[in-house]
Amino acid sequence: MGFLSQAWIIARKDIIGELRTRETILSMLLFGFLVILIFNFGIEPGLREENLVKPGVLWAAFTFAGILGLNRSFIAEKENDCLQGLLLCPVDRSVIYLGKFFGNFIFTLSMGLVVFLFFSVLYNVNLAQVALPLGAILVLATIGFAAVGTLFAAVSVGLKTRDVILSILLFPVMVPVVLAAAKSSGRVLDGVPLAGAGLWLALLVVYDVIFLTVSIMLFDYAVEE
């Protein structure tokens, strides 16, 4: 059986499990909306500088809500000792990583899409123009987020301070992603065509490639018993 299809089986298990209860994706969504709302109350609407602040709000919400989802991706395994079972499967450990990564990617992307819809309603964004470029940015940012996030979630799942430590570990490492995503989406929202934000997209791509590779290599060490 192919490498990727093995990974897909693991991802599918997570997705189907989540679709059944839907509790994580719902809390992620709710949390994302709440963050945008809270930020909104902190900022005067109709400010001239509003355009500078909007993307930051969007990506802050994305990051905070995303971490909720990451935490979940290994908790279920840990609580039911399924991680042991997974590790005993005669597959390369990187397959497990990829499966988890796919799952996290799908969840975070879905959350990102809905949060972005909410955001565009609140801030009167013209969706037709910006949907595609923003979608591209979202995908690239989500890859980077899920790549490192899955690795760190595996690292922190066994620890007492699991939730807090995941945030502490992930936020600083995410700085380039949040920066690039916020800056490029800011330009897109201002009406600049995607090529104008090319530098930031290049950064995202570089980040994604590097950290996906590094995470695949290190995942084995993160979960070995």
Partner: protein
């Protein structure tokens, strides 16, 4: 107290050897080694000389005045943290994952502590230098901002370490984070620099004219602080080695 400390740690020595089966478990020896003492004296003396050079000997900078003298300790601190300190964390993390020898984990931990120490010094001296010259404590200068993110990464590393008690597990998990963190730093720097060139700050980090004697002081100070870092690293690693040997002795003893 200084003397005692030196004597006690001097004995930590080389990597914690094997299990002894003698009836009297040997205690960590307290023999002193010459090179350690020389290193210590050299470090302290050179730092004092650098201090003299920075405050007394170096000429006053034309534009910035006396406050500029902070730079002679600010910049080397930044360099020591980013250069040797965190790079050693990275290297020792990799070596630990390959060899599973806890000694490398101890070195990584000690180096990270020192790295955070020097990064903190950098982050505190930077604003103190900036305020009188540019009127603001923080200017989002790319290098200082990257240093801030660096601080958060390695504080996270230390927090991860302190939340795990078992030796090998702590070593393994911190190694994973130590590797990712170090690789991230150049990317963070690039992203922040692009950000700041698009929205230029009120001030630039440059604007300092260093004549040759100032450069000499800077270089000397760089060497002095690096030496100090090496000395402190050796001290701390020996202390950790010693702690590890004591733990092992305790286990051996209770198993009898």
């Amino acid at each position: 107290m200084e003397h005692d400390t030196q004597a006690a740690v001097a004995g930590g020595g080389s990597s914690g050897g094997g299990v002894t089966t003698a009836t009297t478990p040997p205690l960590p020896d307290s023999g002193r080694t010459l090179w350690f003492d020389i290193l210590g004296v050299a470090a302290i003396v050179s730092v004092l000389v650098a201090l003299y050079g920075a405050i007394v000997w170096a000429p006053t900078e034309a534009v910035m005045g006396h406050v500029q003298r902070i730079f002679y300790f600010h910049m080397p601190s930044a360099w020591v943290a980013l250069g040797p300190a965190f790079t050693i964390v990275f290297i020792c993390s990799i070596v630990y994952l390959v060899k599973k020898d806890l000694r490398y984990d101890r070195i990584a931990g000690a180096s990270a502590e020192l790295g955070v120490l020097f990064t903190t010094i950098t982050l505190l001296t930077g604003p103190l230098w900036a305020k009188p010259i540019w009127g603001a404590y923080w200017t989002w200068d790319p290098r200082l901002t990257t240093t801030l993110v660096l601080w958060f990464i390695y504080v996270a590393y230390l927090m991860l370490r302190s939340s795990i008690t078992e030796g090998h597990r702590r070593a393994r998990l911190s190694a994973v984070f130590g590797i990712v963190g170090w690789i991230d730093v150049p990317i963070v720097f690039m992203s922040i620099r692009w950000w700041r060139t698009i929205h230029p700050t009120l001030v630039t980090g440059e604007g300092m004219n260093l004549d040759s004697s100032m450069q000499a002081v800077l270089l000397f100070s760089l060497g002095a602080i690096t030496l100090l870092y090496v000395f402190l690293l050796v001290v701390r690693v020996r202390q950790l080695d010693m702690g590890s040997r004591i733990d092992r002795l305790r286990q051996q003893f209770h198993l009898r």
